[in-house]
Amino acid sequence: MYLKKLALAGAVSLLGTTAFAACSYENEVPLKSLTAGFEAWKAVTDAMAECGNFQAELDQEFRTKQPAAFEANPSLYHIGGVSNGTVTPLLNAGTIRPLDDLVAKYGQNLSPNQLIRVDGKIMAVAMMVNTQHLMYRSDILADLGIDTPTTWDEVFAAADKIKEAGVVDHAIGATMKSGWNLAQEFVNMYPGFGGAFFNDDNTAAVNSDAGMKALAAMKKTLDYTDPEVLVSDSTYVQQQFQQGKIAMANLWASRAGAMNDENESQVVGKVTMAAAPMAMDGGAPATTLWWDGIVIAANITDEEADAAFRLAMEGLDADMVIANNEAAIWLVNGYQPGPLAEGAIATATANPAPPAYPSTTQMGLLHTALGNELPAFLTGDRDAAATLAAVEEAYTTSAKEAGVLQ
């Protein structure tokens, strides 16, 4: 991907200034970016590359590189792609700069909704929202006379019918790869049952009634999924959908576009998006809200920051969004929400609304503890109560090491 981008950038720069027709100016300052590698980032960095002198690094493991790369002086990258989960270490270490001046200078097209403010200062510019929501094969559910499920109980009832009809290999797909993905499933489900992750003194609070219910719901899912679900990540679930092997999944909105990609998908036009199912009646959809956006490194010169922000604005302009309307749920002006966005919008505007993923140091620690301890429960090696106790214990150990707990 990176090489391709580099080759593309090289080819474009060889063509001379006339090739920059898509970009309103020619970038003179060499700039680099480090972002995640999904479709939306590809669209944005491609648009930035049109201005020349720009190297994009798209890497799904960016989260492990970014804090150290931005802490270097000068920073190894000028532009960073972050989400509300991964912005935390950059904010904590002060390695990204406030953008108020730059927004005033170049941000005429930004809507106030896009500006991520921390204590009044703009620290990031969001470009899209993302959430895990229900995707389902509308043709299968219609054939079997099932209404769109709105709660997990209805999802399980629908799954029973689909399983009985035997129309797909597995009724439900789930991003339960042990580690980050599996922990995220719990982080979705647990607030859906009204649980709070932490007490006021930063101790973990997951060993609760809501925690037990969340685990029970996760275990119930296993009845309908692929037996190898503990190795399946978002890409795997996306492929299962595309190959017609599953009928429903609570999957990332950023994966919706791939369902209608005719080069990969055998189910074009058959997958419908709906709000994330609720865990309990009257509750919020069992999911978390995410945003993805750009930040500018602190350890670079003001000229570089100026050029980097200007370039980022060029990448986030209406032309890019119009050309890539289906790649994400864009927050950028010019976006026309299509059918693929319905699920995410229904999720985000639900009342009560699901929480945003908490960007705190503690959440990072708890996420890791969940990712490491939950598999033993799902493989049946340990019961729910012991698992939640183990999660809290693992969190306490690492929180003490990290200085969060005394």
């Binding site: 989260r63 927050l331 490491n372 090491e401």
Partner: protein
């Protein structure tokens, strides 16, 4: 050789070993007794995040690190904590509690002991298999006609050339979900097969993969050793009426013994650091190894936290484990070496 000449020959390599092996080792050893943590403060922060149409702003008390005004970096403190990181990794209290209550299975709920169980079993199960399979290939090639030897050697060496992580990924892709081998087996046996759904099938694949990957190494060494077997001894054994198996048992294997010890040494060292299979097979839910545990401690989470002290402790424990495993074969080599000198 004169001492001076000897010194200048080995000096570069000694220097490199000190710089790249001894120095990091000492550093890790020290870090395993220390904890470095940022100075945390609690402040009230207002954070505004986008919804789909409008923003939501929340004000909450957040625990964030203190940033040094002068250097612009987070303030950290380093404290000596004794063996606390080792205790955090080993969790001896739970270990003894499990033994005390008679629930031995509970020990395997602790990450370190779970990883140790697999690592030891992996090392000890694959060791005889690698030596056995390697020796069998070597004997087969040695007995093959000259015209066939070249191609057979070439083909048997292929698995060893493959980068381990690529090899394990290939096995994963062949067997996962509807990988071509699983799909073929499913069609043939007419039943659903899920190789990555339970621990024992994953472990079996791992043993198979490691033996397949490393046996060529044993084969090459043994094949070279077979060329030096004393023909006179073999012929006299034949005259004495020794059959093929007896010749193998009483002539060839004693001759190859130093090589077997050598391969055992290398294999123990390599296998105890088993890592690629865990990543390649994505087996963290079912099977983990000691080296993976260290890696997991070192991997930063979304908030950038890394458990460096526990990683250091776990790395030291891995090293201690290798040393213990190597004592037996090393003692034997040492005895042989001394015996040869007299």
């Amino acid at each position: 050789m004169k001492f001076k000449t000897f010194f200048w020959f080995v000096a570069p390599s000694v220097f490199m070993m000190l710089l790249f092996i001894a120095a990091p080792l000492i550093s890790v050893f020290i870090q395993s007794f220390q904890i470095t943590q940022p100075v945390m403060q609690q402040i009230e922060v207002e954070t505004c995040t986008p919804g789909f149409l409008t923003q939501t702003c929340t004000t909450e008390i957040k625990t964030v690190p203190v940033i040094d005004e002068e250097t612009g970096r987070t303030q950290t403190t380093t404290a000596w904590v004794g063996v606390q990181s080792y205790q955090n990794v080993l969790q001896m209290d739970k270990f003894w509690a499990a033994i005390g209550s008679g629930n031995w299975g509970d020990i395997l709920q602790i990450d370190f002991w779970k990883a140790l169980r697999f690592t030891l079993m992996f090392t000890l199960v694959t060791l005889p298999l690698v030596i056995g399979v390697g020796l069998m290939i070597a004997l087969a090639v040695n007995n093959a006609t000259k015209a066939l030897r070249g191609p057979v050697i070439f083909i048997s060496l292929l698995p060893f050339i493959i980068t381990p992580v690529i090899g394990s990924l290939s096995i994963y892709w062949l067997f996962v979900g509807d990988g071509i081998l699983t799909a073929t087996l499913e069609r043939w046996l007419d039943r659903d097969i899920a190789m990555f759904a339970q621990a024992w099938t994953i472990e079996l694949l791992m043993y198979f993969y490691r033996v397949w990957h490393v046996a060529p190494f044993a084969f090459v060494i043994f094949y070279a050793g077979l060329q030096t077997v004393n023909m006179d001894t073999l012929e006299s054994a034949i005259i004495d009426g020794a059959n093929r198996f007896e010749r193998l048992r009483y002539v060839i294997i004693p001759h190859l013994m130093p090589l077997i010890i050598f391969i055992a040494l290398i294999h123990l060292m390599d296998c105890y650091r088993v890592f690629d299979e865990i990543i390649g097979f994505r087996s963290q839910a079912h099977v983990i190894s000691l080296q993976w545990l260290t890696f997991d401690f070192l991997t930063p989470d979304d908030a950038g936290n890394r458990a460096i002290s526990r990683a250091a402790a776990s790395a030291m424990l891995t090293m201690v484990g290798i040393v213990i495993l190597l004592i037996l074969p090393l003692r034997r080599t040492w005895r042989d070496h001394k015996g040869g000198a007299h």
